[in-house]
């Protein structure tokens, strides 16, 4: 019996009992479009798998307890020092468990890459308009995953109970306490008494290893199932429409690519973990509330929040026996709250402005949606400015600057630079549209100069390929919404003010360089 028939027998056996063949046939042939930016989400997914595996390894030895112990391990500079069992067991993992330090570093590097990949994936989805109908729900799940990722990463950073992570927990406690009225009670409940107590590490441990990974698995499953069901978006191009997907089948092309890519992600993470130190907790020392290190920072995905808190002016009010710390409340809770809510609602806001309720499976080139692209760059600029302030002390020492200058620079920068980035980006998008138009109308500049009989020099332009011309002209340019303030009989319509705002935003949103139409092209051909 050949291998093929053996395999066939097994397949038959399974199919006769489950009827899987039809389903498998359909789904294994499912087509996915090909573009490097579609792999960013995959990087996040694979990093998550690496996190699960390396994290499980770490749980075998980690002792999530704030019980005080005296260190007797092999790291001499901490010999005989009092510390929590959590910290001591992390030292044990680092120095005594075979491969423990490598695993810790793989886990932490994977977490940084996980969050970076999520943000990069989010940028891709945003700038190409992949969040539009029917994918608004999946966009919201994505925002949920980003938020959970930030929380999960912060909890993981907090678990070893070293000097740095304890400082982070202290700031988290301050942010909880900043909630008016209920803050101090909530902090008391979370810590099971006064800070630091003995309850917090065991609690966040269970959240870190059970609750949030469970939520992640559920949300990631939903995220992927929706991609499966709604099909992947694709970049515009010849032969690609709103009704098809052009690409390669799952089996065998994507199976091989994705499988291989997983190992590459694992390899890059392991490489970083092998060559570069991350979170050297033995240098930080155990946490005690009386100590702090200069340049204490959170991981990068929290760094922008830290930067916001660092730049907040010291404002607080006292009312009815309560202190409201605006300097913590605004940067720590209100601004992130606005940002994340705005981000989650953005698909609905955009469709309200454009009035576009149709399905979209073809992606936008970012330049063809100048307002959206400008808004995205504006948000990124905001986060970058705050992130810079989050590292102000490190930047000050390494670039010979004054920490006060950086703080004041970012205080103004956070207000001035994002709007400036919006304007510049929008102008850049429109210029790129203009360049596209030039390209279609006059072709590619060849760099060949031609001298005409009467002495004039001209540059020879070469017409672009029809495929390229299609790509540059296939997008649609919707006119702004018509929202008259009065109806047909001259009566002011309900919600006129809202409509006025909507109409204005719609006009700004529809600002475009008129693309070359098919008629224009025909006319050029006649020349």
């Amino acid at each position: 019996m050949t291998v093929e028939t053996q395999l066939g027998n097994v397949a038959n056996y399974v199919d006769e009992r489950t009827g899987a063949a039809a389903w498998m046939k359909k789904n294994l042939q499912k087509v996915f479009p090909d573009h490097w930016s579609f792999l960013l989400g995959e990087v996040a997914l694979y990093s998550f798998v690496i996190l699960l595996l390396s994290g499980t390894f770490l749980t075998f030895w980690f002792d999530p307890s704030q019980r005080e112990v005296i260190y007797e391990g092999s790291y001499e500079p901490l010999e005989g020092i009092k510390m929590s069992a959590a910290y001591a067991s992390t030292l044990h993992i680092s120095f005594e468990v075979r491969g423990g330090l490598l695993m810790r570093q793989i886990h932490h590097w994977a977490a940084l890459i996980f969050m970076a990949a999520i943000v990069a994936h989010l940028m891709r989805v945003f700038f190409t308009g992949a969040f539009r109908k029917p994918r608004e729900g999946n966009w919201i799940i994505g925002i949920g995953l980003l938020t959970l990722g930030i929380v999960e990463g912060f909890l993981g950073y907090s678990l070893p109970d070293d000097l740095l992570s304890g400082t982070g927990i202290r700031i988290a406690e301050a942010i909880i306490q900043a909630l008016p009225v209920v803050g101090s009670y909530l902090a008391y409940f979370a810590f099971g008494g006064a800070f630091p107590g003995e309850a917090f590490i065991p609690r966040i441990y269970i959240v870190h290893v059970l609750l949030l990974p469970g939520a992640f698995l559920a949300l990631i499953t939903a995220h992927l199932m929706m991609v499966w069901y709604q099909k992947h978006t694709q970049y515009p191009g010849p032969g690609r429409t709103e009704k098809n997907v052009v690409g390669y089948p799952l089996m065998p092309t994507y199976m091989a690519k994705a499988g291989g890519f997983f190992f590459i992600v694992f390899g890059v993470t392991a490489f970083l973990a092998a060559v570069a130190s991350i979170n050297p907790i033995w240098l930080y020392g155990p946490y005690t509330p009386g100590q702090i290190s200069a340049g204490s920072q959170p991981d990068w995905y929290m760094g922008w929040l830290d930067g916001l808190v660092r730049m907040a002016p010291p404002i607080e009010t006292h009312a009815f026996g309560h202190t409201i710390s605006w300097n913590i409340l605004i940067p720590g809770l209100i601004i992130p709250g606005i940002l994340f809510t705005g981000m989650a609602l953005y698909p609905f806001i955009e469709s309200w402005i454009t009035g576009d309720k149709r399905e979209h499976h073809l992606l936008d080139r970012p330049r063809n949606a100048p307002n959206r692209t400008a808004l995205g760059v504006m948000s990124l600029t905001f986060v970058m400015v705050t992130l810079i302030n989050g590292g102000n002390d490190i930047i000050a020492t390494h670039f010979d600057l004054s920490i006060n200058q950086i703080m004041w620079g970012t205080r103004f920068g956070v207000l001035i630079l994002p709007p400036l980035a919006f304007i510049i980006t929008k102008r850049l998008c429109l210029s790129l549209q203009r360049a596209d138009r030039e390209l279609v109308l006059h072709g590619r500049e060849t760099g060949t100069l031609l001298r005409l009989p009467h002495g004039e020099f001209v540059e020879v332009h070469e017409p672009i390929s029809p495929e390229k011309a299609y790509l540059l002209t296939s997008h649609e340019q919707a006119p702004p919404l018509e929202l008259p303030a009065v109806d047909g009989r001259g009566v002011k319509r309900a919600g006129a003010l809202r409509n006025k705002l909507r109409a204005r935003m719609s006009i700004a949103n529809a600002e475009q360089i008129t693309k070359v139409s098919a008629d224009d092209l025909k006319e050029i051909e006649h020349h």
Partner: protein, 263 residues
């Protein structure tokens, strides 16, 4: 012996014995002190002080005043002690290259002998912290690394960073890195509190504890990078940068390659 003991009750015996004893003590003391320390004769010392004064007048007095009484831009040096001079001049901080926010460590302008002369001159103005003797700086023998680490995290890490890499202070001032600093200079800095640094007197941190701190700093300096490249030992800022640039950067490179091959 008999002849000697015959005179033991002699009138002159007691004063003579006293004289002998004094001579013996004096001779022993002079021999012993000459052997163990470099205590110099008063004459030598005044020569050194004069030499220091000459250097001071040329190199320091334009800011610190002709009699080290201080001026508008520089503090008085009366009572700062030899340790202060040895630290500031010995690490190249003084004389300052320019009037920036803070004197920075650089190649010393004066050699060891000149530094000692200026230190002697400043110490002669009024008593102050002395340069610790070599014998009292044996941190390897008298220090305890773990205790030093605990003291360091309690007293030093908030400015100098958890691994002694230095950190930012306000208005462009900074706590410098402690890597590669001579033990003597670390000790003197704790005793004299140069620039923005507070003084850690022997009551706050005992000499033995100071040696423990030095031992821990030296241990941190010589500790191999256990987890791979140290990334400057400044915490998550450089880690985040590397995660984005090298980590995600490499992966995007691979993703571009993967998508390209499909063409």
């Amino acid at each position: 012996m008999k002849r000697l003991s015959r005179y033991r009750r002699h009138k002159a015996a007691a004063p003579l014995l006293l004289l002998l004893a004094l001579l013996a003590i004096g001779a022993t003391y002079s021999v012993a002190s000459a052997a163990t320390s470099s205590e110099m004769a008063a004459a030598d010392r005044s020569v050194l002080i004069e030499e220091g004064r000459q250097i001071f007048l040329k190199g320091c007095s334009s800011c610190h005043g002709l009699n080290a009484e201080g001026g508008q831009i520089a503090p008085s040096l009366i009572g700062v002690g030899a340790a202060s001079v040895d630290f500031q001049v010995g690490t190249g901080r003084m004389p300052m290259a320019d009037m920036s926010t803070q004197a920075m460590r650089k190649e010393p302008v004066y050699d060891a002998a000149e530094t000692a002369a200026v230190a002697a001159y400043v110490a002669s103005l009024a008593p102050g912290p002395e340069i610790p003797a070599e014998s009292s700086l044996n941190y390897e023998r008298d220090g305890n690394t773990a205790e030093g680490g605990e003291l360091f995290r309690n007293n030093c890490a908030m400015c100098h960073n958890f691994a002694g890499q230095g950190g930012a202070l306000t208005q462009g001032k900074y706590a410098p890195t402690l890597m590669g600093v001579e033990p003597k200079h670390i000790y003197e800095a704790m005793v004299t509190g140069p620039q923005s640094m507070p003084v850690f007197s022997d009551k706050t941190i005992t000499p033995a504890e100071k040696l423990s701190i030095i031992k821990w700093i030296k241990a941190a300096e010589n500790e191999p990078n256990l987890g791979g490249a140290s990334l400057g030992r400044v915490g998550p800022v450089t880690e985040g940068l590397l995660g984005w640039v090298l980590g995600l950067g490499m992966l995007i490179g691979v993703a571009v390659w993967l998508a390209m091959k499909a063409k």
